[in-house]
């Protein structure tokens, strides 16, 4: 599984990254967590509000700092 955090690196993006890392750790799954900070790349995903979260290339959330539990629900679907 590939999880991407889309955002230019503000505190909200950092918090979302930390929550995603915690969710992956708690679920004990294999996942690669990457960051997309380039605005052109973020826009290519259609994201107009950051931070956003993409799982295996599909944006599943934008404009919100999802909690660890919300991320766990999304990635264990």
């Amino acid at each position: 599984m590939k999880i991407e955090i889309l955002g230019v690196g503000c505190p909200k993006c950092k918090q979302l990254t930390a929550n995603a890392e915690a969710a992956v750790k708690e679920l004990n799954i294999q996942a690669e967590i990457g960051k997309v900070t380039d605005i052109d790349k973020i826009t290519e995903y259609g994201v107009m509000m950051t931070p956003a979260l993409a799982v295996d290339g599909t944006v599943v959330s934008a404009g919100k700092v999802l909690s660890k539990d919300e991320i766990k629900k999304l990635i264990s679907k």
Binding site: V8, C10, P51, V60, A62
Partner: protein, 136 residues
């Protein structure tokens, strides 16, 4: 990375004009752009919602309020948004007295409609800045 490019600001009000091919479609588009320029709303791409681009859909979900502006009673913008699961506040320019094929799209009309939709906020901006809303 510079934080001044951050896209994580409050999403607030998103506005989706139908931007149709007729005079009233053009009016919907120019009203939305006027409101966006005056800071009353953020204009979004209706086409992206229609295409079900996940990033666009998820970005729109973060809005506090979604406004659809349609030029005519076909209500394409409202219906596209509803199809994607949103419940927009809908404005039909026909209900505001503008008829397809008989509408002159000029600055006065754009301002008048923008004021009706924004509850007079565009007009207030004009009165604050003698040069017109956002200096235009």
């Amino acid at each position: 990375m510079a934080e001044n490019n951050c896209m994580c600001q409050e999403s607030g009000v998103l506005i989706f004009p139908c931007s149709g091919g007729s005079d009233v479609g053009e009016l919907s588009d120019r009203v939305a752009r006027k409101m966006a320029k005056c800071g009353q709303a953020k204009m979004f791409c209706l086409a992206g919602i229609g295409a079900h681009i996940p990033g666009m859909i998820e970005s729109a979900k973060a809005a506090n309020k979604i406004i659809a502006i349609d030029g005519c009673q076909v209500l394409c913008s409202k219906k596209i948004l509803e199809h994607a699961g949103f419940t927009p506040i809908s404005f039909n320019l026909k209900d505001l007295g503008f008829e397809k094929g008989k509408t002159k799209v000029d600055d006065d009309t754009i301002e008048k409609v923008a004021n009706k939709i924004s509850g007079g906020k565009v007009e207030k901006d004009i009165s604050r800045n003698s040069g017109g809303c956002c200096g235009n």
